[in-house]
């Protein structure tokens, strides 16, 4: 074992460690990696760290932190040790995600049309219809090809015994895929020899696959449907990603004011006049899309866009109103949703979830706040949550009040000890950090999942929160053929 790994304390009794098994030996798919790292000195690691840092800085790969002073841009922290996922495990994830996304798409189609699942009382109607993201304006509208969720990023974790579980679904505008792509580029520069030793499945075709998916949903059939990316603008935290994806796909990056609707058709305003737009990969929330339908004060949207969409003159990816599935209360019903539409058992399980809206659950939650994770039903990015074991009594009391006042808006889950992966501290010492995995699922005429995804790392010692806005980092994810 390498000098770094010799000193590494896996603690497999308390956590599932991705590299070291319960018996204290390295897992087979990490053999070559450990062998290679055994040859490195601290200086070697520092030199590679330098290569990676320069790469990220030159690429301008940064994200913006809100609530701090304007214009604070940071490099997304990156860990040099890649995560290795053996092909047979990936197969489970891939099948599980395809199943989940298929069922969720059926669910969306249903609730925006006949609402059979609500009439059959598999999911309580009030939870769906009362969800913040349920969009009444969208009932009865048929998106092109009946697809609602063209890009999904579901967060997957592993529990203490190594089972892959879905922690949450992101069906609106999942971000982070640019980091997945850039992490791979950085690793290729820093560790070229390792890439020869593993058969790593490529992910570089993601932008092409995304473009193909977007062109497939074009409502107008023409040789090269005109696809644009719609960004909220330069002040958005994910602006780099919007710009990156547009450049990678070779399409225009637009803001709301670049688009104009005339006669229910959407156009970009160019120096050569108006150009018809067929598909919009929008990274703007529903609420801001069209001031005539949603928030009238929105300056980011396009007046008339929703009517053009209803008329079938333009496709939106993702469709409107998909956020109802992101609602963490609806999340708890996903296993039932899969069974209802597909007649199958879910391949990927959910994390057990308690709903304060059920009286028995409410009692349990209030009595166990110190050991549970409480989440607001409609927040993302690690905001609005209580991690029981890390919280103070005062914080718990505050959340107890919030939950009692508004039970519909919260869920509680056991504190899962996420699997751990050795990660570098100061390039000298390895420490087990908690990780999750966000693969990106594309849904056009077929479902495509590029092998891997973004592995996020809680780089603060002991922290369970992996979100970039909360000090998390990421590492490259290798799906390897054995």
């Amino acid at each position: 074992m390498s000098r770094f790994f010799e000193r590494y304390e896996a603690d497999p009794a308390s956590f599932f460690d991705e590299v070291i098994s319960k018996e204290g030996v390295p897992r087979a798919h990490y053999d070559k990696l450990l062998h290679r790292f055994a040859q490195f000195t601290t200086e070697d690691i520092r030199a590679r760290r330098q290569i990676v840092n320069i790469f990220f800085r030159n690429q301008g790969i940064t994200f913006t932190v809100y609530g701090v002073e304007e214009g604070i841009e940071r490099i997304f922290p990156f860990d040099l040790i890649p995560r290795v996922v053996p092909a047979h495990e990936w197969q489970t994830i891939e099948k599980g995600l395809a199943q989940r996304v298929t069922a969720l798409n059926e669910f969306l189609k249903d609730i925006y049309h006949t609402q059979k699942i609500l009439k059959d009382k598999v999911v309580p109607a009030d939870l769906v219809l009362g969800s913040k993201h349920f969009c009444r304006e969208f009932v009865g509208v048929n998106p092109p090809q009946g697809i609602y969720i063209h890009v999904t990023g579901s967060d997957i974790i592993r529990d203490g015994s190594g089972n892959y579980l879905v922690l949450e679904d992101n069906l609106r505008t999942p971000s982070g895929v640019s980091y997945m792509l850039q992490n791979r580029q950085a690793m290729k520069r820093a560790f070229p020899v390792l890439f020869e030793k593993y058969k790593i499945r490529p992910i570089e075709n993601y932008p092409q696959e995304l473009l193909r998916t977007l062109q497939e949903i074009s409502p107008v059939s023409r040789k090269e449907p005109n696809v644009v990316v719609l960004t909220p603008g330069i002040y958005n935290s994910a602006y780099f990603e919007h710009s990156f994806l547009a450049r990678q796909m070779g399409v225009e990056l637009t803001e709301g004011k670049d688009l104009v609707v005339n006669n229910n058709k959407v156009y970009t305003r160019t120096t050569r006049g108006l150009e018809r737009v067929d598909v919009i990969y929008r990274r703007v929330d529903d609420a801001y899309l069209d001031p005539l339908v949603f928030r009238p004060d929105s300056k980011l949207g396009v007046a008339g866009l929703i009517n053009a969409y209803r008329k079938g003159n333009v496709a939106l990816a993702n469709a409107i109103g998909t956020g109802v599935v992101d609602d963490k209360v609806i999340y708890s019903f996903v296993p039932d949703i899969i069974k209802y539409y597909l007649g199958e058992d879910p391949i990927l399980e959910n994390v057990p979830t308690w709903l304060p809206s059920k009286p028995a659950h409410m009692k349990y939650i209030l009595e166990n706040l110190g050991s549970l994770v409480v989440k607001a039903a409609n927040e993302s990015g690690g905001y609005g949550m209580l991690v029981g074991p890390e919280s103070t009594i005062a914080e718990q009391e505050k959340f107890a009040e919030l939950i009692v006042a508004n039970p519909r808006n919260y869920i509680a889950q056991p504190t899962i000890s996420l699997s751990r992966h050795p990660s570098f501290f100061n390039d000298t010492e390895l420490y087990g950090c908690h990780i999750d995995l966000r693969p990106y699922v594309l849904y056009g005429k077929t479902i495509t999942i590029v092998p891997g995804g973004l592995t996020r790392v809680a780089l603060k010692k002991g922290s369970l929160v992996v979100n970039s806005s909360q000090g998390g980092g990421s590492k490259d994810t290798w799906v390897v053929d054995e």
Binding site: P232, I234, Y235, S237, T268, R269
Partner: protein, 364 residues
């Protein structure tokens, strides 16, 4: 290209050029006062009013300051954020425009705008007062560096042409204003504090202080180039001939108009015999007239009236560029009757802060 991107390139370039010209006016005024110190009344506020007149900002200035002194005028033109044309405001707006199209410009261009912006944040009025020469040189050099970087790192396609149009329209406008104001300043009787409100004079006459005319040339970096053509015959006729009609000097009106015309025609494909849109027609007309105008023609019209008309026509060209390339295209707007077209609205150029809060929407 997207109209928004073209428009941001245009305003980025225009504000940068404006900042440079303001720095030039101020720099020369300081030098002029040093030269005049023993000769005439350097404290005369008229020397400072002229700078405010160049930027057509009397009213706003009078709201903010009591008197015209080196200190107040410098503060207003360099630092004041309520003055949208102050150097600080211009570079801030140039940067905002650049930032909004950061993926379209080269990273070197962005770096240069950003450097200058941060340099300006670090400068204090004290520093400018102690060493105006170094400060203004810094601004001029930063602008030259930006243009050099742009020429060498940015593809010379449509976007580059918009940068050129903006730069040369702005420059033409600034030279015209400078000549106009200085011309009145240098009249034998320097009595009126409102030189521009006077009736236009037909001919310059009387003794003219050579030092002051040299200052005009210097502020356009034109003294050496002028001497190569006219040797040391520094008289108003030759100076006006040089600054207005010379076709080879890059800070003359004729040169700048030609350069703007080239860029406009490259974008649209217009030619000498056939114009495609009104912007092309108007710039072509202006260029042709400049080519066949003599200084006597200008005098017979009255210099002030000539320059005033020129400035108005530049505004019209700006409007037409806006309508042709940046504004929402409808057939009605492209009417042949230019005066009936929509008013020019693009002057703010920068991006307002309203959108920031909404853009901060959470990403999943």
């Amino acid at each position: 290209m997207l109209s928004r991107v073209a428009e941001s390139l245009f305003w980025m370039s225009r504000y940068f050029e404006r900042a440079e010209n303001t720095a030039r006016f101020l720099d020369v005024n300081f030098n002029l006062l040093l030269d005049l110190n023993n000769i005439t009344h350097a404290e005369n506020p008229n020397y400072w009013i002229a700078l405010i007149l160049v930027t057509s900002d009397r009213d706003r200035f009078n709201e903010l300051y009591q008197e015209y002194t080196a200190y107040t005028v410098t503060d207003y033109l360099v630092f004041n954020k309520e003055n949208p044309n102050s150097i600080t405001s211009c570079i801030g707006l140039a940067r905002e425009n650049a930032r909004s199209i950061i993926e379209s410009i080269s990273s070197e261009m962005w770096e240069q705008v950003n450097n200058l912006y941060h340099y300006l944040q670090s400068v204090t009025p004290q520093l400018v007062q102690n060493d105006p020469y170094t400060f203004y040189k810094e601004i001029k050099n930063a602008s030259h560096l930006f243009q050099g970087i742009t020429d060498n790192t940015f593809s010379h396609n449509e976007g580059w042409d918009f940068i050129q149009i903006a730069k040369y329209l702005e420059r033409t406008d600034n030279i015209a204003r400078l000549i106009d104001v200085k011309y009145h300043m240098l009249l034998p009787e320097l009595k009126s504090p409102h030189p521009l409100s006077e009736e236009p004079m037909d001919v310059v006459e009387g003794s003219v202080d050579i030092i002051q005319w040299m200052a005009v040339l210097k502020s356009c970096s034109a003294l050496e180039a002028f001497r190569k053509v006219y040797l040391s015959r520094i008289d108003p006729d030759n100076i006006l001939r040089f600054l207005i009609l010379d076709r080879t000097f890059p800070r003359s009106i004729n040169f700048s108009v030609c350069a703007a015309e080239d860029a406009l025609w490259r974008i649209s494909g217009s030619s000498r015999h056939r114009y495609v849109n009104n912007a092309d027609r108007l710039i072509g007309k202006m260029e042709a007239e400049l080519s066949y105008t003599s200084i006597e023609d200008i005098y017979s019209k009255g210099l002030h009236r000539y320059l005033e008309e020129l400035e108005q026509r530049l505004v019209k060209i700006g409007e037409q560029v806006h309508l042709t390339y940046f504004a929402y295209h409808t057939p009605e707007i492209e009417s042949a009757d230019i005066d009936a077209a929509l008013p020019f609205t693009g002057i703010s150029g920068g991006r307002a802060n309203w959108s920031q809060a909404q853009q901060h929407q959470q990403q999943q």
